[in-house]
Assembly symmetry: C2
Homo-oligomer: 432 residues x 2
C-alpha cells in the first residue's frame, strides 16, 4: 500500500515550494533579500573557490521588540558573542546572515563581523550596532570580508517586502528543503524560517531560526513567550546530540498590528515554533525516520524531557529505527541507562512502554508476540522517509514511542531522527 | 606505504590465535570449559532456531577473594541482580556464562537463572548460591532453561585446567575476535577475557569481563585495586555511549600464589585491564578507527574524563574520524558543548588542541595550514582499520587527540571509536 500524502506534505517539490510561497509573505514593516557571491577561502592554501549566500532581514524602523535564544556552547561563534551584547540593547533594525562559513574560532572573527555590520548599516541606515549577524558553515575559517562587502550593494537591491522565501533558501547548508512556517494572531502575522540539518541538539540554540512578526506585544511579554515556546520546541529536538557553536533563534517584531490578546499570540508562536522544529528534524542530515518520544508520569518536566532525549539520542535505538527493527530491548536499555546514571528513583515494575500505540513493556517484562512485532514493524516502515522520494517531505508520519513512568504527573514530547547510512555519508566528509 | 604490523598485532588470524593460546593458560586453581547447544526461542511464534554457547569458569575450592563491578543501568538483567547479592556474600566457586540471550526484562528471569545455577552446582559441587551467572544477547527473551540444563553434563565434561581460550570464544556475540590478556605479578598470574562489541559505555559495567588470578591478595586490597583499575580502563571506553543492562567485570582469585607486593599486583591488573579495554574498542561493532582523547590541564579528573568522553561520543567527531577528515571545528564544537552545558569555567584562550601531535588550536583560534591538514589526514588514514583486513587486529594505531585546558593538573585518557557504515549495518538489524 502506497503511503498517503497527508495535508502537511506535498506530491512534488514544486507543490511544496508553492505551499511555502503561500505562507512566506512578510509581516508589515519588514523587507528581506538574498544574493550569491563566490570567494577564495583565506586559511588553506589553494582550496577550491566556494559559493556563499548573503541574506538580510531589515525592519523599516528600529524596534525595541525583540528576543533571542543563543547557544550554550562555551566556544560560541563571533555572531553569538555579538548577539549576546546586542540583545541587551535598546533597539534592533535587522539581521545579516551568511552560510558557508560559521565565523567560529577564526582570528579576528568579531572584528570582521563588526566591520561588515558597519558597512551594511552605512548602506541601509542606522548604526552597525543595531544589526545582528548570523553565520553557519565551516568552523575555523575567516569570513571573506572584502567579497562580502562588495556584495552589499546587490544585497540592498534584492530587498523586497513581499516574501521571506529567498532568505529561507539563502540560509540553507545541507538542508534538503527551505523551511517556512506561519500563523496568524488576529491581524498580526508570525512568520519563521530555519536553517538546520546537523548539530541539532537542545539547550538552544541549535540552528538558525528567525521569527518575524508585526504583533504589538510589549517587550517583556514577547521575551517570556519566546522563551516558553523555544523550551518546548527547538529545545526538544535532537538530530545528533551536538549543540553547535553558532546557533540562535531570534524573534523580531515591528509592532505594527494589534493582537486580540496574549493567548492568541502564544498560540501562534507555539504552532509556528513547534512545526518549524519538526521541519528541522525531518530535514536532518540523512534522516530516514522522525521519532517522537513522549514521556508521561514523570516526577517533573525536566526528567521527562531528559529521559526522552536519552532515548532518541541512543545510537542503538537510532540504528534500530533505521532498520525498522521493533527492538524494545534497546528502548529499555537506554531508559535504564538514563534512570540509573541519573539516580532517578523509578520502580521498573510501574513503567509501561508502547510503540506505535502497541503496549510492549509492562510489569518489568516484555509484552510482545509475533503479531504485535509485525504490526510495529509496519508502523516503523510506514514512518520511513523513502530516500528515492526525498525532494519534498515524503509524509508527516513518525515512529511514536511512549513511556509512562507511573511516578508523577509531568510529561514531555521530544523529536529525534534515526541513524542511517545517509547520516554517516553526509558527515564523514563535510567539506568536499 | 603499507602500514607496518606492530608487535601487538599479527600478520594473520591464525597468528593472532596462536598469540592468544600462548597467554591463555589458566592460573592455578581454575578450570574452564564451553559447549554449544541449539534451542527454539519461547517468546516469539516460530522464529528460527538459535545457537547458544554455554561456558563455565570454576574454582577448585570456594574462595573469599573476589570483586565485581556491575552496570548502573536501572533495568539490570537477572544476572546483575543476582551478582549484586552474591558479591556481598562470603565465598564464590565460579561463573556460568551464556551468550545469545541476555535474560533482561524476561518473565521469571531470576527464577530461571537460579534454577540453572542450582542444577549446575548439583553437578559441580557446592550450592547454587556460590555461583554467579552472566548472560549476553537479545533483551526480553527467556532463557531456554530445559535445553541449557540438558547441556550441563557436556559442559562439565568440557572443563579443563589448561586454557581460557574456549571460554573467550564462547562468550562472543558480534565480537570480531576473542580477547585474552595476561600478565604476571611474580609467580602469580592475572588472566582476563572480555566479551564486548556494542553498548560499550562508562560507569561499568559495559561488557562481560572475567579476570582470574591465583594471587594471594587479601579481599579488601583485591576489591580496592579492582575498583581503581576498572575506573581507568573499562570505565574510560565508549563505543556508542550506551550502557548495557547486563554487563559486569568480575575478578576471582584462587589465592594459591604469593605476590611480591601490592605494587606488582596493581601493575599487572592495570596492564591487563587497560589492554583488554582497548581490545574491546578495537573490536567494536563496525569500528573503523580507534580514537584516543587525552585531556590534560583540567581542574579535576572527573572533568577531564567527562570532557574526553563528550568528544569521543560526539557523532560529528566520530563521522569525521571515519572519513579521515581533520575537522578541528567539530572537536571544538563538542568540547564547547560539554564545557558550556556543564558550566565548567575555562578560558577558551588558554586551551590548546592537537591531533596526531600537530597543534591545531591555540589562543582561541585555529592553527592550521594545508601542509598540517595533509599530515593530520595521513595520521588518521594510517589509523584506519582496513575493512578488507579485519580478521585480526590490522594494527594498534589510534587517532590521537589531545586537549590541554590550561586550568589545572588533572588528566584522563579515554578510548572510543568512529561512526561508520559498518556500525549502522551491524546495528540496524541485530536479530537477523
Amino acid at each position: 500500500m502506497k503511503p498517503k500524502i497527508s495535508s502537511e506534505c506535498y506530491a512534488s517539490e514544486a507543490e511544496y515550494i508553492n505551499a511555502l510561497e503561500r505562507r512566506a509573505g512578510l509581516p508589515a514593516g519588514f523587507s528581506a533579500g538574498s544574493v550569491e557571491l563566490s570567494f577564495q577561502p583565506y586559511e588553506i592554501n589553494a582550496p577550491k573557490p566556494r559559493v556563499m549566500r548573503l541574506s538580510a532581514i531589515v525592519l523599516d524602523e528600529p524596534t525595541g521588540l525583540f528576543a533571542g535564544s543563543l547557544t550554550q556552547n562555551a566556544f560560541p561563534g563571533a555572531p553569538v558573542t555579538i548577539a549576546r551584547r546586542r540583545l541587551e540593547g535598546e533597539t534592533l533594525r535587522g539581521v545579516l546572515v551568511n552560510n558557508s562559513i560559521a565565523n567560529v574560532c577564526a582570528r579576528s572573527g568579531e572584528k570582521d563581523a563588526e566591520e561588515l555590520l558597519d558597512a551594511f548599516a552605512a548602506r541601509i541606515g542606522g548604526s552597525g550596532r543595531e544589526f545582528l549577524c548570523a553565520s553557519t558553515g565551516v568552523i575555523g575559517w575567516r569570513l571573506p570580508v572584502p567579497e562580502m562587502k562588495a556584495a552589499l550593494p546587490s544585497l540592498k537591491k534584492s530587498l523586497q517586502t513581499a516574501t521571506i522565501l529567498d532568505v529561507a533558501r539563502g540560509i540553507m547548508t545541507t538542508d534538503l528543503f527551505p523551511k517556512v512556517r506561519a500563523a496568524m494572531a488576529g491581524e498580526a502575522k508570525v512568520l519563521a524560517i530555519a536553517k538546520g540539518a546537523g548539530m541539532i541538539e537542545p539547550n538552544m540554540a541549535t540552528m538558525l531560526v528567525f521569527i518575524l512578526t508585526d504583533a504589538d506585544v510589549d517587550r517583556e511579554t514577547l521575551r517570556r513567550l519566546h522563551r516558553e515556546a523555544v523550551a518546548v520546541s527547538f529545545n526538544r529536538i535532537s538530530v545528533d546530540s551536538d549543540q553547535s557553536t553558532s546557533d540562535m533563534a531570534i524573534l523580531l517584531s515591528s509592532g505594527k498590528k494589534k493582537v486580540p490578546g496574549e493567548d492568541s499570540f502564544r498560540e501562534a508562536l507555539l504552532s509556528v515554533y513547534g512545526a518549524l522544529a519538526e521541519d528541522v528534524v525531518r530535514n536532518g542530515e540523512g534522516t530516514g525516520h522522525v521519532i517522537r518520544t513522549v514521556v508521561r508520569g514523570a516526577a517533573d518536566t525536566r526528567t521527562a524531557e531528559a529521559l526522552g532525549k536519552a532515548i532518541i539520542n541512543s545510537p542503538l535505538v537510532k540504528t534500530a529505527a533505521f532498520g525498522n527493527d521493533p527492538n524494545v530491548g534497546r528502548i529499555i536499555m537506554a531508559a535504564g541507562d538514563f534512570l540509573g546514571t541519573s539516580k532517578t528513583n523509578v520502580d521498573p515494575g510501574s513503567i509501561t512502554v508502547s510503540i506505535g500505540g502497541h503496549l510492549v513493556f509492562e510489569k518489568g517484562s516484555f509484552s510482545l508476540d509475533a503479531d504485535k512485532e509485525a504490526q510495529i514493524f509496519n508502523h516503523m516502515k510506514e514512518a520511513q522517509l523513502d530516500p528515492d522520494n526525498n525532494r519534498y517531505p515524503a509524509h508527516d508520519r513518525r515512529i511514536e514511542i511512549e513511556l509512562d513512568l507511573g511516578a508523577g504527573e509531568a510529561s514531555a514530547a521530544v523529536l529525534g531522527s534515526d541513524l542511517s547510512y545517509g547520516y554517516v555519508r553526509e558527515n564523514a566528509d563535510y567539506r568536499t
